[in-house]
């Protein structure tokens, strides 16, 4: 008896502590356990691109998609969007060859800006160093390079076919990283002309207006391929190659779907969702207490524990909450209530059959209600799994909160409610306790 009371007390304290944790971590702006809100609640933009992989060999598809993801990630990071999510995805169901890139930008509601951010091709330029330019004192002091120090050649990333990282093969160049560039046919001619006329000069490579490499022209290069060798490490060379390749996305992409939600609308949906949830919980609690009296109150306590547990799980995993996700959670609360009602009704039945042994009635009530709770909840979980497996992001949100919710509620209904109920039992119960356990209308 005392053992169960101690467990019940621990559960209750754990529940209160979790509730306290939820409250303080939400209030504290520095906490890393804030609820993660989906774009439809927190405002932001989701862009879905279709990647044209038709020209790639199948073995190159996944690496190209990975490269695409990295390029886009890099472009977005330049703009300082907080916590962007960039994922690649395959179209499902007979459409699995179609590769997609999904970009989620919290806080960005201007689609124009978002599309520009991703679609924008970084400016790659080749410029000759201006021999006649002398840097001012101030430039020397601050170690900055004026734009005037270089002359445009007309050669840009538009003419670049690709860039690769290689390592030197022979002599003094052994294992030295070399960045090789390949121009397309127009670029080849232009490059040949520039290199022929300016041997010995510096042909600087600029990315977005910043010089990233300053190689010296050694000889005329007629075949449209160039190498940048210099004093850089393998990592730096890799970085340079990536930057150069940024001039062209590895895969052509086409915008197929956009979704943006403004800040006021998202907040409105969130507030209303929370409001609806609280109202539902209050009404159900009143119903349970009025109809089932003391056991009803115990169920409400167990439900409260269940709800804080779920919310804590949402915070800790973390689960990204969307409008559909909150709906799924509210429905899982409904299922948890159902389980409690099934138990209470069954207890009432057992109690009416044998009014003197309440402990037996409680234990039997739980044991007999368990079968129907188990079977009905498993079907709900089956549906949640199917939804999660097949669904799009909105449906996935619903399926996740609903499925996890049902699973946890199944466990909590039979463990938490049971412990609480057994804990308040007294060996010699008087008429008052009997009245408090007299559930609903008399059968």
């Amino acid at each position: 008896m005392w053992k169960i009371r101690v467990i019940a007390l621990i559960l209750l304290i754990a529940g209160i502590w979790l509730g306290f944790f939820l409250y303080t971590s939400e209030k504290n702006p520095n906490s890393s356990f804030h609820f993660k809100l989906g774009l439809d609640l927190a405002s932001g933009t989701q862009l879905v691109y279709k990647a044209d992989t038709s020209k790639l060999e199948s073995k190159d598809v996944s690496s190209s998609m990975q490269a695409l993801k990295e390029v886009v990630e890099k472009r977005i990071n330049v703009f300082g969007v907080s916590e962007p999510i960039i994922q690649t995805e395959s179209g499902g169901l007979g459409n699995s060859d179609e590769k997609r890139l999904i970009v989620e930008l919290p806080g960005i509601t201007d689609i124009n800006k978002a599309v520009e951010m991703i679609g924008k091709t970084p400016l790659l330029e080749f410029k000759l160093m201006n021999k006649n330019y002398t840097p001012t004192e101030e430039e020397k002091k601050n170690n900055v390079i004026s734009r005037d120090a270089f002359l445009d050649t007309g050669l840009t990333g538009r003419y670049l076919k690709g860039s690769q990282l290689q390592f030197g093969q022979k002599g003094g160049f052994a294992n030295e990283p070399i960045v090789s560039l390949t121009f397309n046919s127009d670029g080849k001619d232009l490059f040949a002309k520039i290199t022929k006329e300016h041997i010995g000069e510096v042909l600087a490579i600029f990315l977005d207006g910043q010089p990233i490499s300053l190689p010296v022209i050694q000889q005329e290069i007629p075949d449209g391929s160039a190498q940048i060798s210099g004093k850089f490490t393998a990592d730096e060379a890799k970085e340079l190659v990536r930057n150069l390749n940024l001039g062209a996305l590895p895969v052509a992409i086409e915008l197929v779907s956009t979704n943006s939600v403004g800040a006021s609308l998202g907040k409105d949906i969130l507030d209303k969702g929370i409001y609806a949830g609280i109202i539902a919980i209050i009404i159900i609690s009143l119903f349970l207490i009025l109809w089932y009296r003391l056991p009803g109150l115990i169920s409400v306590l167990a439900l409260g524990t269940y709800i804080v547990m779920m919310l804590a799980i949402f915070k800790l995993i973390p689960v990204v909450l969307t409008a559909a996700g909150i709906a799924g959670f509210i429905m899982s609360i409904g299922m948890a209530v159902d389980a409690n009602i099934l138990i209470l009704e069954r207890m009432k039945e057992e109690f009416n059959e044998n009014r003197d042994n309440m402990e037996e009635a409680i234990k039997n009530g739980f044991a007999r209600a368990w079968l129907s709770i188990r079977d009905s909840n498993i079907t709900s979980i089956i549906i949640a799994v199917v939804l999660f497996w097949l669904g799009t992001s909105a449906v996935k949100g619903f399926a996740l909160t609903f499925g996890v919710g049902v699973l946890i509620s199944m466990i909590s209904a039979i463990s938490i409610s049971r412990t609480f109920l057994l804990a308040i039992l007294k060996k010699n119960h008087g008429g008052f306790i009997k009245f408090m356990f007299g559930i609903g209308i008399k059968n």
Partner: protein, 303 residues
């Protein structure tokens, strides 16, 4: 038991309730939203009050974007539905809505879905519903495997499917009315609602079946063969309809709260769910058990 005695009446009522949505489906048809056929939905609000809808429509008429619809939303917003818009078309539409900057607008929501993604979602929706039904039947046949007399366990599964069809068709009928008179379109959320109804309806049915299973076991243990299957079903129904009602009632309250306070996004979702909860409760008491009896009758009469 009242329900079992008058089961024919209830089965007839249910058949009518099921046939009406089927007829409506053919007459009115389901209006697929942009989730399934592709297109754009743009919601803009006017902080200084919205202009007359006719003015807005006149401006959009001049745009080369084909068919569209504009509906008022809330106090000072419009929602425009169009084909899948590209960047320029979107800007042109925004300009029309703001009368080229005359009316201040805030772009509240834009949802654009390309046609290929729409088609894919449609396929996914079909597969999701069919797979869910299949798995549920298999699970029920498994869960009731120990009670194969007087009705074999997979028949519980079949009866569940028939009840499920009933429970899905009635909310679909409600949605058809919504779609006819309030412009609602089938979206992913509607499919989610249907699947949630599948879950709830099966829960209710299982509560009844579980009791029948238990009473059948008791009957065999006591070798009390004088009790007929009809009486067992009647007794089980009598023992469970109270809790079926209570569980559905609380679920109904939850969904009602979602409908009244949950905001516009989940409103249709909640309404469809409410219809589903009512249909599911009704069917588990008035259809599932009588149907089970009907199936067992046919078998014994053939023998």
């Amino acid at each position: 038991m009242f329900v079992i005695k008058h089961r024919k009446i209830f089965l007839i009522i249910s058949s009518v309730m099921t046939i009406i949505p089927i007829i409506l489906l053919f007459v009115w048809g389901l209006k697929p939203g942009i989730d399934f056929v592709g297109g754009s939905i743009l919601e803009v609000s006017y902080p200084d009050g919205r202009p007359d809808i006719k003015v807005v429509q006149q401006r959009i008429d001049n745009l080369p974007i084909g068919n569209y619809s504009v509906r008022p939303m809330g106090e000072n917003s419009y929602v425009a539905r169009t084909k899948f818009l590209n960047e320029n078309e979107r800007v042109a539409l925004l300009n029309s809505l703001s009368s080229n900057g005359e009316n201040k607008i805030v772009e509240e929501k834009l949802n654009s879905i390309g046609p290929t993604i729409g088609q894919e979602l449609k396929n996914k929706a079909y597969v999701a519903i069919l797979l869910s039904i299949l798995f549920i039947v298999l699970f029920i046949a498994f869960a009731f495997r120990k009670v194969s007399k007087p009705v074999s366990s997979w028949k519980y599964g079949v009866v569940s499917i028939m009840t499920l069809a009933h429970d899905i068709l009635i909310p679909t009928g409600v949605f058809l009315f919504l779609s006819k008179f309030a412009g609602a379109e089938i979206d992913v959320l509607f499919i989610t609602a249907l699947l949630a109804i599948l879950g709830y309806s099966i829960n209710d049915t299982i509560i009844v079946f579980d009791r029948i299973r238990e009473n059948l076991n008791i009957r065999y243990q006591h070798h009390n063969s004088r009790e007929t299957f009809e009486e067992t079903i009647g007794k089980s129904l009598g023992q469970t309809y109270g809790r079926s009602f209570n569980t559905s009632f609380t679920t109904f309250l939850t969904v009602l709260a979602l409908y009244i306070f949950g905001g516009s996004v989940t409103q249709n979702f909640a309404l469809v769910l409410m219809a589903g909860v009512i249909a599911g409760t009704y069917s588990s008491i008035f259809i599932a058990a009588p149907l089970l009896l009907l199936i067992s009758r046919e078998r014994t009469e053939k023998k």
